[in-house]
């Protein structure tokens, strides 16, 4: 049985002359917490958009749980959960009403029960009757995470999940991601440009530089080879030379 939850072959997205993602070939195994690292504009969000069927690739193939994101997009979506960088829900609706809406769209059989279970898992049942418009970014992110896992997807795509959160919010979200992976076995595909996030949460890492995959390994091997978090930073800077020089 194929253990890859995400498989891409020569995946490319062009905007006119500019290639946002170039010939990306990448496999993510079931149960991994994969950290997709890169500078702003490296092509991470474009990759997530292609994998979540939001964006049509220019060329190449991408499979999610063995389903093509272009030819079998409906089937692929059944396996996907997606949390965008800025979670925007319906402000005039309560958290429960928002979740009910997305649960029904996802075809969840007993939506009320599933919402309660999900909110319990995320330790935020008390948010259910409150209007989403009154939420802080951290609470909004949590409900955003809830809407993405209601249908218990095989793979959860997170685009810069900790962006804009305070240190406490970052820690809470990080813990939830790890629990989600351990308790539900959900594969996590997480975009980030924070090295600290990768070292504390992920089991494997890929580095994207100017649309190209320049590094791919497990965190275990990286740590074995490079040691501490600061060494991971050095590794990152060494594989993304163009941006690093520009930043210097």
């Amino acid at each position: 049985m194929n253990t890859y939850v995400v498989e891409t072959r020569q995946l490319t997205k062009r905007y006119g002359e500019h290639a946002a993602v170039k010939n990306l070939s990448l496999n993510v195994e079931r149960g991994e917490v994969f950290g997709f690292l890169g500078h702003n504009g490296a092509g991470k969000t474009t990759t997530i958009h292609m994998l979540t069927t939001l964006l049509k690739p220019t060329s190449g193939t991408a499979l999610v749980c063995g389903k093509s994101v272009t030819e079998q997009s409906l089937e692929a979506r059944r396996h996907i959960g997606y949390v965008p960088e800025n979670v925007r829900l319906y402000d005039t609706m309560t958290a429960r009403a928002n979740l009910l809406f997305f649960a029904r769209l996802s075809g969840v059989e007993y939506p009320d029960r599933r919402i309660d279970e999900t909110l319990d898992f995320l330790e935020c049942r008390d948010l259910a009757p409150r209007l989403v418009g009154s939420f802080s970014k951290g609470l909004r992110q949590r409900i955003g995470l809830a809407q993405a896992i209601l249908h218990r997807p095989d793979v959860l795509f997170l685009d810069e999940p900790t962006s804009g959160l305070d240190p406490m919010g970052i820690k809470t979200l990080r813990d939830l991601i790890v629990r989600l992976n351990r308790e539900f076995g959900t594969t996590i595909f997480m975009n980030t440009h924070l090295i600290s996030e990768i070292s504390r949460t992920c089991t494997s890492i890929g580095v994207l530089n100017q649309g190209e995959l320049v590094f791919r390994d497990t965190i275990e091997k990286v740590t074995e080879r490079y040691g501490s978090e600061s060494s991971l930073e050095e590794l990152y800077l060494s594989v993304t030379p163009v941006q690093a020089k520009g930043a210097a």
């Binding site: 069927t53 939001l54 809406f101 029904r104």
Partner: protein, 327 residues
């Protein structure tokens, strides 16, 4: 089947609830109702002035010792009072349609919730059908409310209870109004879905509204010589029908262009149908319904065709979720 319908209903119910909280749409609907009631009151005052003039003339003849029975009693058609109401539906109804359609797409684009919706296992047609269903329900509810209030106002003002045929006529015009407003809903929705920038969508939709609701019918009316003299130029000149036809043949190209401008406007089709069915246009006052409907079939087909063409346009083109989630 349940899997096909449930996402459509889920999206529709959410949108209906959203619209009920939308103050601007509520305000516009209230304005339509108020404007309609004012139009009915003005029509009632005008009617009372006409009746008073008739009664005065009749009393004057009797005072002069003349036989007043030779003056026929003026025919009174209560549905004629709805002229102003129909005109308000033409203008404000179209605006409400555009706004509801625009809001249906803009609300998702503005909140960036579309990315969350289209990453669910639902087809594009289910998303669009949910939106159109909600729009149809919102428009229909508003129009039913407006027509019921207008009907009650007609009864209250005229003191005449509407008979089943009158109610049937109202129902036909209401259905046509629904189709008409739906066409503008689709216009607002399509432009808001496709435009790169949302404000451009609103600008485009209102340019179309201005051209086809206000300008085209006005040009058509202004170019119609029959509209330049009260009661009609031929009638005032006492020119018989065969001569009218002969004269008009000499202006056939002119008339084709004039009529073409009018026909391009869904507003004119709705107006022609409504004025005929309600007997607002003198030619049709007191005439039986079925021949009127037979004569006005083309206007009904035009309204249907415009709405269908916009719906086809909507469903045929693939959405670009990436663009829609970046607003």
């Amino acid at each position: 089947m349940r899997n096909l319908v449930q996402p459509v209903l889920t999206i529709a119910v959410k949108d209906i609830r959203d619209a009920l909280k939308d103050r601007f749409i509520i305000l516009m609907t209230a304005f339509l109702l108020l404007a309609s009631l004012v139009a009915l009151a003005v029509a009632a005052i005008a009617l009372k002035v006409d009746v008073a003039t008739y009664a005065e003339a009749k009393a004057g003849l009797i005072a002069l010792g003349k036989d007043a029975s030779t003056i026929p009693d003026p025919a009174f058609y209560p549905l004629k009072l709805l002229r102003g109401f129909v005109e308000h539906v033409e203008i404000i109804g179209a605006i409400i349609g555009i706004l509801i359609g625009y809001r249906a797409a803009a609300s998702e684009r503005g909140r960036q919730t579309l990315a969350l919706i289209v990453t669910r296992p639902i087809s594009q047609w289910q998303f669009l059908a949910g939106k159109v269903l909600a729009g149809t329900a919102i428009i229909s509810s508003g129009l039913i409310l407006a027509f019921v209030i207008a009907g009650i106002a007609v009864i209250a003002i005229s003191g005449i209870v509407l008979n089943p045929e009158d109610i049937g006529r109202l129902a036909i015009v209401m259905s046509a109004a629904g189709l008409y407003a739906l066409a503008f809903f689709l216009l607002g929705f399509v432009t808001a879905l496709w435009a790169k920038k949302l404000p451009n969508a609103l600008l485009l939709a209102f340019t179309v509204w201005l051209s086809f609701v206000l300008i085209a019918p006005q040009i058509g009316d202004t170019l119609d010589p029959d509209n330049q003299v009260a009661g009609g130029v031929f009638k005032q000149l006492q020119i018989a029908k065969p001569q009218q036809v002969e004269i008009l043949q000499s202006f056939s190209t002119y008339e084709t262009i004039r009529n073409g401008i009018e026909v391009a406007s869904p507003t004119k089709h709705f107006e022609r149908l409504s004025f005929a069915v309600l007997g607002i246009k003198d030619t049709y006052a007191g005439q039986p319904l079925m021949p009127i409907l037979a004569e006005k079939t083309s206007d009904m087909i035009w309204l249907l065709a415009i709405a269908l063409a916009l719906a086809l346009l909507l469903f045929a083109r693939r959405l670009d979720p990436n663009r829609l989630s970046k607003e």
